[in-house]
Symmetry: C2
Subunit: 380 residues, 2 copies
């Protein structure tokens, strides 16, 4: 159990994370199974894609189907029949963005369910207990994510509460560990877009018995330049030997950029969310399948792609399915998009091991086209 770095180039790292459910090669992109399902895909699809790690969400699973149902099933892996590594988000972000009538105090958050309006309370201790019942492999801690924009005082308040909660979470985590739990602890580092606050958070984190560090509070509406500026300053002061997980960030471009700043793990709903709107990701940029060019183009979504969708179906057919609102369009385009993310993550890892990450990254960005017409010309 634990993390081993096996290659470096600049600040980029290639490693292996050992968990109770297998080894995960990093850098890794983790598809998001918010409600114990990567939207539109089945676990057979995850197997055939070679997905070794996914993210799921304590907040959603706690509300539905309920922690006790999953515990009865023998844990989340058995419930959803997925044997890879599962990291669970703490719910801090979700309570703030999705729940109704929330009130935060020093010891937790009270809110009403976005599903049925029922009243609930989450505390740092309870969130660890929930993750323990889910049996996920990596646990996060309840946090307060400051909205964007927030001023320094607001952000500081959110961070202070997050740090206080982290102390309580750590206590419960260590209890569970003492009781035999093999799950790893990946508490969330906040601090918004104020470097001094991020450094304060990192300083506090260095005293926590964490197996890895989750970087929260990014991708909340800020400009990309600010993301990388603050992320870079934060990873600089984090311990080298612990894996760093950047939460909720994950376009193909983000993968290369985040890894260049020392990130090892990422998750993002983006590839599957945009797929349901018909957006196709390729190594040279994106286009929408509803583009009229696709109606009579009988080439695959991306000519160089080896996924089963590209091996069998044409843009014309997928364009027809999407226009006709056929459900299979969602699955097929989601599969292709996730496939690309996994292929890119593997290539990034290999380039670090080969010592040509910087070169490959330049190459990748030099090929990206912003105009979907140019993308379509290249992939058809």
């Amino acid at each position: 159990m634990g993390f081993k770095i096996i290659g470096r180039e600049g600040r980029a790292r290639a490693g292996v994370l050992k968990t109770a459910h297998g080894e995960v090669e990093t850098p890794v992109y983790m598809p998001v199974a918010t409600q114990a399902s990567v939207k539109a895909l089945s676990q057979e699809d995850l197997d055939s894609l070679g997905v070794k790690a996914i993210l799921s969400n304590s907040y959603h699973l706690y509300l539905r189907p309920g922690t006790s149902v999953i515990k009865q099933a023998g844990g989340l892996h058995r419930f959803m029949k997925y044997e890879g590594m599962i990291l669970t988000d703490s719910g801090g972000f979700q309570v703030l963005s999705q729940a109704d009538l929330r009130t935060i105090d020093d010891f937790g958050v009270s809110f009403k369910s976005h599903i049925d309006g029922s009243a609930h309370r989450l505390t740092p201790e309870k969130v660890i207990a929930i993750q323990s019942e889910l049996g996920s492999d990596c646990w996060t801690a309840l946090d307060v994510c400051a909205p964007y924009p927030s001023d320094e005082a607001q952000t500081k308040l959110a961070l202070e509460r997050t740090m206080r909660w982290l102390d309580l979470s750590e206590k419960t985590f260590l209890q569970k560990k003492a009781e035999g739990s093999e799950s790893l602890f990946f508490p969330i580092l906040q601090g918004g877009f104020f470097a001094p606050l991020r450094l304060q958070a990192a300083e506090h984190m260095s005293k926590i018995q964490a197996d890895g560090i989750s970087l929260g509070g990014f991708s909340v509406g800020e400009p990309k330049a600010l993301t990388w500026e603050i992320l870079g300053k934060t990873t600089e002061v984090l311990p080298e030997q612990k894996p760093r997980y950047l939460m909720g960030v994950g376009t193909p471009e983000d993968l290369w950029d985040a890894v260049s700043l020392g990130i090892d793990m990422m998750d993002c709903v983006w590839p599957t969310r945009v797929a349901r709107n018909g957006q196709v990701m390729t190594r040279v940029g994106r286009y929408n399948i509803s583009n009229s060019f696709c109606r009579t183009n009988f080439e695959p979504l991306e000519s160089s792609c080896s996924c089963f969708v590209c091996r069998r179906y044409s843009k014309a057919y997928l364009s027809h399915l999407h226009r006709s609102r056929e459900l299979s369009a969602h699955r097929l385009i989601s599969y292709h998009n996730i496939h690309l993310m996994l292929v890119l993550a593997r290539e990034i890892r290999q380039s670090i091991l080969d010592g040509n990450f910087a070169e490959k990254r330049r190459e990748f960005f030099s090929r990206i086209k912003k105009d979907s017409k140019d993308v379509l010309a290249l992939v058809s």
Copy 2:
């Protein structure tokens, strides 16, 4: 090319239909790919299910993506990448049930598209030409399906128009055949629920160079007893050597009953439509996955089922997916339901060959439970 009967028991028949895209063992249940997609499933799913024949719809494909797109793709098989037999419905039923502002005259039907309101006209000749461009294996003919209930005069008018159109369709079919088409002709026999009209239709059909006979105008809201009464009187006078295709009828019970009256082929959207509402079909009846019993039942949808869904997932998980409105619920339950239909059709065929169809049919009905509680107790 053509149909061969290889076994009989009473009026039930087991046969083989040879088409340009493979041999189809009958009795057969054909899943419905209205818009060139069996809803929520992919063609990999059809392959793994062993689906040898599907139904698609001229009316829908003509409107979207348009016949010319499919012709450019090299035909419907290449467009959707399905190599089994495809039978296409004529659109007669769809124009009457879905299109706006339709006006029928002696030579065809004018209507506005249900998609974009554009004006169109279908004639018997044009419907054959459309199917020729689609390249489907079995073609039907434009017909007028009388709504239920209709009086004898109304039904007679609809039938007379259908017969007149059939003469025109046959002419175009024979032309296409002379030009080298290998597709089979399955014109539609109408006549509503008046036995003398059905006999008149059969008499007219006997003069048509048909490869098979489609039985239309059933399952339009009439009581089941009336379906079987009129169907039985109709099949009685049809030529023995031609395959009979009962259009749009297909619950598990219907399969056994229709075959007992000499039906060889059936299609129905029912198994996939109800799946999207959470309805699970089993050999002993149906239940809805949203039944509260399912929330904490960790057994498969049907314990005796060998489909991939039942081999991997539990009712509890599928119940969660359905309640959470996850798209994969639609695919997984649709797959299970179609799997059952195919298994039943194969068992029916085998029982005819073994000479115990009547016994197996009795057994099947004796096991059917109407109450979903009883069903759940049996399959869990």
